[in-house]
Symmetry: C2
């Protein structure tokens, strides 16, 4: 209710000096100019402005005030909120800076406390304010944007202002705007559910630099994207960017890879620039959803659709490019393929239809090139025909000054209305086609200055379409809580045992602390075997020379044991650390696994999102090429499958070059199980399964390392 | 000389109907409106237009005509050229379509023949004409662009027109424009040397869909980029794009990977959209060159510069981001790092200097955030100070409506003038900063709507700066011509021998056609060995089961030989192809190579560029992740080194995770030698060296396959 009152207050009081040029003065000007009448000025001088009456205190105002906008000095803000609370105000927007962003954490805690006490919802402090165009409320110093269907939430006031200033030129309207600055109280986590229900909002655009509680953020995103598209800019992808974000907002930024995977997996559409945000929002608010229509397709695309049928998340939308110039059509096709769309040729029926409708010099192979002779009717008929077979189209007009761009725009708009499928336009270039672009805009079709941008928008819309069509559910968090065995670092045999008990297949093994035990162990396992050192002091066994592979007989087994034992004392002398030799707890013996694909699986802990599960192919692929796939844990089977498919090296697992396909079902199952362990065992900080041997049937873990949290919270 | 007359004719005759609305009529309007006065109309009716006199024939004109612009029907063009030749005309622009693009190759050959005969340089046919803004010559139907320093050559007339229409809004001026359509005669190969010398041209932008002679094209590019920057759009990167290009221009498009490597290696700056082309040209014509200044750096960046010193091509330009808002600064930093620039923190001296100059709330860690309080002086002093240490800067102004953007622009422009280093601006957003942007433009500073685009431009300028600083030379083509041994497909032993004679190290081997010979051969080589089938009928030995590895003793050797022999007859029966068993020529035996990094090297033949040399890591890395590096052959040692460094898996070769570094010097030498073989042996179509064993000292080739051209031209 109080978020509603924030955006749709009956009355607004601006608290702060209304002397000319002061923030209070400018705020009142904005609110009055915007057309909102129930506004009051509150300041010690009871000074009004722009016809608005001034009061000494909120309590003196007779009308109902649901919202106060605070621009008075930082030290006065707790008192203002106290007064507002007593006056029954529902929401406060604190424009005033000088709180946690400059180290004044006590001041911020104080205003939060007062607001909480009175049940006031707080926006800010240090923020750029609130706008609700449909309520004519402009409680912000920023440029008043045109009304529209996009709600924009910005952590940064300046970025918010820049976007609002640009809105009219970009042809995008906003329903609501809110910048929350230091987020003492309200942020996207509560705004998203509100906006999901807001009738005036079709799309939300979000600019963030950090989040406070990664899990709560993800829950809000996942719930929101079930209803409406969410476009997100998350800045701070680079090292320099994260350094700046840290100094800028004071909150810890999580790894960008985790943000990226979490947002994508949760159905949010991440973009990297404000321009991309405008482009995508324009497409989302003005075009029908882009849904990949798998059924009723013509024969020409059967190959790709058949493989897609086995894997619905990999459905590639089919895009038709209709143009009157070859070059831009080709460039649009280039971009579409790069973005994973299908730019296939038309099927035979469609080809025949087009051959009858179009002059012979037109190219009908997609891009459909009507040539410079392309007419209004040509665009209309071609687009209508192709959209019976394709999922979306880009209409390109590269107009010489003598062509009537309005006529072509009419053809395009007619086809859009008739087909009910998305058509994004690219009328080039500039003033020559200004009238055509105006026609498109008036008829609700987005135009992009280059066709590559139109294609990019359609690709992202298809991504959201595919997400919505799967009707995603999310795994519940495990509720049972257990203790890890022991109380310190688990040794390898202990960890393997633990893993096995938790349902993850491991290799049989034998522990041994003497030569003769080691030889016996090797025999029991059966040659060839692998032997590894066991010591709480050694994390990187291979680098220590503590791993011997392919031991073929008793002699080699004895030799390996002795070598490991000796190496440890030599190493200890060489390095001097630890000053005494490492605590040698013998060796562990495993069978050698042949013809397996080695993987590494892991769970780590992200500062923002907590447990994260990772899979990669190990070695070069992971460590040099960074071909890994990750998700915020826990994951369900669908997510695990998607993780596996995302690996660039995925074809290797499915039977590359005549090799036998690996057991991906088993791999997905293990990923699901692994991803739940840090919840069942809250002491877990990291788990590394490396190597994992993936076989044509099943998999087994070859080694495991479990790291406890430094301060265990049982 | 005649290209000069094409762009700077004394007089121009327009041949074709001047009836209202006809092309000849519009051409004369354009030429007259553009301010060129020595123009004549030629048509059967001797009809003039727009005050221009009409003549029945070129011979009737008394003034000097250097250029004819032909818009008369296709069938009349040979006659027009004949007449022009007799009248001493130097150049002809044939706007008329209806030649090779619609299959009329004879007509095109005919006009080419006539033009050649009279020494007339021909532009077109089927082209959009010629413009020289500095000569006030607008012999084109396209929009007249503002004058400037960019020459634009476009294969496509429509794309050319779109760019010209957009030029004024984009704030870019052109010196010359030429669209060559079907390129019966002139194209970029002769225009580039002309423009390299053209005083009015500082940058050339080139739009191509295909080239006719890849080698000649590359020679022209390499010569041009020694003088001036070249920005290239090459469309048709995707399958669909190439399909369209084929149907569109009728010429064979080479592999896009080869184009890409060839352009990059030759110093051209490839971009993918018209927008990127505008952005980059604006930066190149208005900013000083971006040169990485390696010397005299402060201590803070020493780590990156020290490794750069060992590898000059990897120098990363250091970019400073100066902003008055955190968010856009962070986003610019994100993009800069993604593009391989260094966004390092300032050194201690600079930090101290800034601490004295700036208020304490400013962030001085790069991005340098002056906050919304940033002033004209703040921008001026910060930029001047940072540019003593950094190579370039981006100046971001995210202006609320109440800030004076002109003052900030003044600060930025002053710093640009004083520092002499490139500063790209991003004043956001739109109308709010329109006056600031106008000030920047008036002072020659490019502005970009989002800072990411400014950063991208600087990164590309740095790429060109690095290219220019190396003063590249290019390897001469080998002149000696030799014959391959034999006259059919070389068998493995033969091919290995040939390779060895040509200076590429190979493994010792033994051939054997019987069990006893095979066992003897294995002994001579020394166990363990590898044994492979020899047969002209078997290309993929491994898939045929014709390769046995790790043969450890005489018994295994005999067994392997028998197995190979038997398998062949079994396979032949199973598949029925070839109907008789494969032609079995025995086996070849090699030593097993341990602890080598396996690579594959190759030479193949590109339809546009001829021999191409390739290196990759083999297996997954090459075949699934497509981590390969290629160049148009031959390459010199510098290029070979660059190829190796380009591999994403490069760190593996240099001593990853404690492994010993590989002999990259030997690898580069072999690449150089290999890349020259197809020139010395013109019969060679392909050479595959796979595997190549790269050792810590030296390398050896493990297998080689040489494919002859189908029609050998000795």
């Amino acid at each position: 209710m109080s978020i509603h009152q924030l955006f749709c207050p009956r009355g607004v009081a601006v608290v702060g000096s209304t002397a000319q040029g002061k923030i209070g003065y400018e705020l009142i000007r904005q609110i009055v100019d915007g057309g909102f009448s129930q506004v009051y000025a509150v300041n010690p001088k009871a000074q009004g402005a722009f016809g608005v009456s001034g009061f000494r205190a909120l309590s003196e105002i007779e009308g109902s005030v649901d919202l106060v906008v605070v621009a008075s000095p930082a030290a006065t803000v707790p008192g203002v909120l106290e007064e507002a609370g007593k006056a029954g105000v529902a929401a406060a927007v604190v424009i005033t800076a000088g709180f946690s962003e400059v180290g004044n954490r006590e001041g911020e805690a104080e205003i939060k406390r007062v607001a909480n006490h009175y049940g006031i919802r707080l926006v800010g402090p240090n923020c750029a304010g609130v706008i609700n165009t449909h309520h004519k409320l402009f409680a912000s110093l920023e440029t008043r944007p045109p009304a529209g269907q996009v709600a924009f939430i910005s952590q940064s006031g300046a970025m918010g202002g820049a976007v609002l200033s640009w809105a009219e030129e970009q042809g995008l309207g906003f329903s609501k705007f809110l910048s929350y600055g230091n987020r003492a109280d309200l942020d996207e986590i509560e705004l998203l559910p509100f906006l999901a229900q807001d009738r005036e909002t079709e799309v939300v655009a979000l600019y963030i630099e950090s989040v406070e509680d990664g899990r709560a953020f993800l829950d809000a995103v996942r719930e929101f994207t079930r209803h409406k598209p969410l476009v997100v800019i998350k800045s701070g992808r680079s090292q320099a960017g994260q350094r700046a974000t840290l100094s800028h907002t004071g909150s810890m930024a999580g790894s960008d890879e985790v943000y990226d995977a979490a947002l994508r997996d949760s159905g949010a559409l991440r973009v990297n620039t404000v321009e991309e945000m405008f482009d995508l929002c324009k497409g989302l608010v003005s075009l029908p959803p882009l849904v990949e229509t798998f059924h009723g397709r013509d024969i020409a695309c059967n190959v790709s659709t058949r493989s897609a049928a086995a894997d619905p998340s990999r459905l590639k939308p089919r895009i038709a490019i209709v143009t009157n110039s070859g070059g831009p059509g080709v460039m649009a096709a280039d971009r579409a393929e790069e973005l994973g769309m299908t730019v296939c040729e038309p099927g035979p029926k469609l080809k025949e239809k087009l051959a009858q409708a179009l002059p012979p010099y037109c190219s009908m192979r997609n891009p459909f090139d009507l040539t410079v002779e392309g007419t209004e009717a040509g665009y209309r008929e071609t687009l209508c025909a192709v959209l019976e077979e394709y999922d979306a189209a880009v209409a390109i007009d590269v107009a010489p000054p003598y062509l009537d761009s309005v006529a072509l725009a009419r053809g395009v708009c007619d086809a859009a209305a008739k087909s009910g499928k998305p058509i994004a336009a690219s009328f080039m270039a500039g003033r020559v086609v200004a009238e055509g672009i105006a026609y498109l805009k008036a008829h609700g079709l987005p135009n992009y200055p280059v066709a590559e941008r139109a294609v990019t928008v359609l690709a992202r819309m298809a991504e959201y379409g595919a997400f919505r069509s799967t009707d995603r559910t999310w795994p519940e968090l495990p509720t049972e809580r257990k203790r890890l065995p022991g109380c310190s670092q688990m040794l390898e045999p202990e960890a393997v045992q633990w893993l096995c008990e938790n349902g993850i297949p491991t290799l049989p093994f034998r522990s041994a602390r003497s030569i003769s035990d080691a030889v016996d162990g090797c025999r029991e396992i059966g040659y060839p075997v692998a032997m590894k050192v066991v010591s709480p002091d050694i994390l990187h066994k291979t680098e220590w020379g503590g791993v011997k592979l392919d031991i073929g007989d008793d002699d080699q087994a004895a030799e390996a044991f002795t070598a490991i034992e000796e190496l440890l004392s030599v190493r200890a002398r060489q390095h001097g650390t630890p000053p005494s030799p490492p605590d040698f707890r013998g060796v562990v013996v495993y069978p050698m696994v042949k013809e397996a694909q080695e993987l590494l699986l892991g769970v780590s802990s992200d500062p923002q999102f907590g447990p994260v599960v990772v899979v990669g192919l190990g070695g070069v692929s992971t460590q040099v090429l960074r071909d890994i796939s990750l998700r915020v844990a826990p994951v369900d089977h669908l997510q695990a499958e998607a993780m596996i498919r995302e690996l660039r090296a995925y074809p290797i697992l499915t039977g590359f070059r005549g090799e036998r396909p690996r057991d991906l079902e088993a791999l997905a199952n293990v990923l699901v199980t692994l991803s739940r362990l840090p919840f069942a065992y809250p002491e877990v900080s990291e788990i590394d399964l490396n190597p994992v041997f993936l076989l044509t049937r099943g998999l087994v873990v070859g080694d495991v390392r479990v790291i406890r949290k430094e301060q265990t919270k049982p």
